[in-house]
């Protein structure tokens, strides 16, 4: 309320402590991730690359989460759909493209691992693998190290709904609960573990599992980046205050097939996919920004031009870049002399 008695509604993002510049950057990152993903699918269809695993429709939540973290202090253990998350942390499109093309300059693995297997010490992103959920106990280890050293660091770890059934999920959550460790467990529930629907994977909401380990479990609408940001920020503050872990279940929907090797219409209908496509969080966020006067059709066009140019350039660069030489290919099984 102003003194004159008129009501000036504070924007949702301002109420959360986010500036206009930040929400615009958040929107741009979502779009960049979406465009990168769409280009990757095309490159695979065109036979330029062998494999892509998509994060389409996860972007609004991933950007919301990344903005709630501290990139200087926190540790990040993302999973293979976290493109928007790692872009928000500072990985570049060029780096993602180098990874997609398995080239030597890829900071994630030097072209050794499948794309989407992130890892980059420079960005505090911890190397991950394909057997799902192994990163959960690792995140607990990072949180334990932070607690033992008295560092104000929080570990972020994400995984899919299928992963919530793995032993490492339960063992990791229990360990963190017992020792009240600063870790945030994020289940990006996109309703499918490849072809197996949620109804055949779990008999109770995934978030409710946290109760068994003595800390809060929260469901959040993954199409609403500001709500995800709010929930994540709270979880981070709890972690820093020594109150322990939080399990966040981000409710989303996998719009793309599991990977480029999957035919999703063998187990779900086009109508179902269309239903969720209409609920895409990116156009909704664009509307939000537009209504506040922070965004316009002109800015959208300019952004599209700029991002596609960036993606074109990254694609061309990555396609031409060399593979790791065969002299390098088998190095780093153990520490070499200079690492000791």
């Amino acid at each position: 309320m102003t003194k004159s008695g008129t009501v000036r509604r504070q924007s949702r993002h301002a109420a959360l402590g986010l500036t206009d510049e930040q929400v615009i950057a958040m929107y741009e990152t979502m779009q960049l991730a979406r465009r990168y993903d769409e280009r990757s699918l095309l490159l695979q269809r065109a036979g330029k690359i062998n494999f892509h695993i998509s994060g389409i429709n996860h972007e609004p939540a991933q950007v919301g989460m990344a903005y709630a973290m501290d990139p200087e202090r926190d540790w990040f253990l993302p999973y293979y759909r976290d493109y928007a998350f790692v872009l928000a942390l500072g990985m570049t499109v060029k780096e993602l493209m180098l990874c997609l093309f398995n080239k030597a300059e890829d900071p994630n693995s030097g072209g050794r691992q499948m794309p989407g297997h992130f890892g980059c010490r420079r960005l505090r992103i911890v190397t991950g693998s394909s057997p799902v959920t192994t990163q959960v106990p690792h995140a607990v280890g990072f949180a334990l190290a932070a607690k033992m050293r008295g560092e104000p660091s929080v570990a972020y770890v994400s995984f899919g709904d299928g992963s919530s059934n793995q032993g490492d999920f339960h063992e990791g959550l229990n360990f963190a609960g017992v020792h009240k460790l600063p870790v945030i467990f994020v289940c990006q529930n996109n309703q499918y573990a490849i072809s197996v629907p949620l109804s055949k994977q779990v008999a109770a909401p995934i978030a409710s599992r946290a109760a068994g380990y003595g800390f809060p479990g929260i469901q959040v609408d993954g199409s609403d980046p500001l709500e995800v940001y709010r929930v994540m920020k709270e979880a981070r503050e709890r972690a820093l205050a020594g109150e322990g872990p939080t399990l966040i279940e981000v409710l989303t929907y996998r719009l793309s097939p599991h990977s480029t090797s999957d035919n999703d219409l063998a187990y779900r209908t086009k109508e179902e996919v269309e239903y969720y496509k209409a609920r895409d969080g990116i156009p909704a966020f664009r509307r939000y920004l537009t209504e506040l006067g922070l965004w316009s059709d002109e800015r959208e066009e300019e952004l599209a031009r700029r991002q596609w140019a960036m993606i074109d350039e990254a694609t061309e660069y990555a396609e031409k870049a060399p593979y790791q030489s065969l002299d390098e290919a088998f190095r780093y099984v153990y520490a070499e002399e200079e690492d000791r």
Partner: protein, 328 residues
């Protein structure tokens, strides 16, 4: 020089490394207040507090996985598996994660974790408190594997493992804990990983092995020397991975007659690789076929005393095999 029990050497190595380096800590089931089911971590909680002698929930994959995470974060964790038999839930973490972290990240990340696990029988442990699972992990590039036979090596290899920048599996034989005692210097030392040691010099036959069965070989060798004039050359591998190829070839060439021994079962065991190394490089220098004397290919040893005795190697079995090889 003080004589220490094998288990005391292990405990002392951890204590000294924890004093030397504040990032070193121990975690596992019962390692804190109780000091370990065998007592290997006794006193560490009192000296270093409950986080550096950390009692964990009973969940082996988390013990390994949390240790791996902490190691990547710059700590030097020593994860204790209560019995090697119980470490199999952690194999995914050890083989798919710890072993591959440096390689898969193109040297961006590494994982200096030590995983200690008691192996072996002779304590009436039956099928699930007696196993030697070395061969499950052997042949996984990215892992180092050590298995000391003496107190001196137990201390020196554990210190080397803790200081190593890569994951090391440390297999300690539970029968050695209080049965084996030898001289351990007060000064700080390490036993380098990847180096075997000649335990006994001889010209007639070569025995190559690791861990507890070597003590039976040493006893048999003394008797064969006295009674038959046969001199056995005995090589302790100490490190199973990477194998000390030079040390193996040198020991094999010394006599041209090789007996390989271990408690882990014969098929697919470490001995098979040792035999292959010798066959690849030294075939024409051999005076007898390579022999192996190992645990039988059964799932594990029975708990009943005759069954356990029948499974395990002992001085008599070693003596007979060594004599037969010497007479070939």
């Amino acid at each position: 020089m003080p004589v220490l029990e094998y288990i005391e050497a292990i405990r002392l190595a951890m204590k000294e490394e924890m004093e030397r380096d504040s990032t070193v800590f121990v975690l596992g089931e019962d390692v804190g207040v109780k000091g370990g089911v065998f007592g290997a971590t006794k006193g560490l909680l009192e000296l270093f507090g409950e986080y550096r002698a950390l009692d964990t929930p009973l969940a082996e994959s988390a013990i390994a996985g949390v240790a791996i995470g902490a190691a990547m974060a710059g700590m030097k964790p020593i994860a204790e598996m209560q019995y090697a038999d119980f470490m199999l839930p952690a194999t995914n973490q050890i083989i798919n994660e710890a072993a591959k972290i440096r390689y898969r990240s193109n040297n961006d990340w590494h994982c200096p974790v030590v995983i200690r696990a008691p192996i072996g029988g002779g304590v009436f442990g039956g099928p699930y408190h007696s196993q030697c699972p070395e061969s499950v992990f052997f042949g996984t590039p990215g892992l180092k594997i050590v298995a000391p036979a003496t107190a001196y090596d137990a201390k020196g290899l554990l210190k080397a493992a803790i200081r190593d920048p890569d994951p090391v599996l440390y297999f300690e034989h539970k029968k050695c804990y209080r049965l084996i005692a030898d001289e351990v210097p007060d000064e700080d030392y390490i036993v380098p990983i990847g180096k075997s040691r000649v335990m006994r010099e001889g010209d007639d036959i070569t025995v190559i092995g690791y861990s507890m069965p070597l003590h039976f070989a040493m006893q048999a060798a003394e008797e064969l020397s006295r009674e038959e004039g046969i001199e056995a050359h005995i090589l302790d591998l100490r490190t199973l991975q990477p194998l000390d190829k030079e040390g193996i070839l040198e020991a094999a060439a010394k006599t041209g007659k090789v007996l390989i021994i271990h408690e882990d079962n014969k098929t697919g065991g470490v001995g098979a690789e040792v035999a292959a190394i010798i066959a690849e490089e030294l075939m024409f220098d051999l005076d007898a076929p390579i022999r192996r004397l190992c645990g039988p290919d059964v799932p594990a040893m029975p708990i009943n005393p005759p069954g356990e005795k029948h499974f395990l190697l002992n001085k008599e079995k070693l003596k007979a095999a060594m004599l037969e090889l010497a007479r070939f």
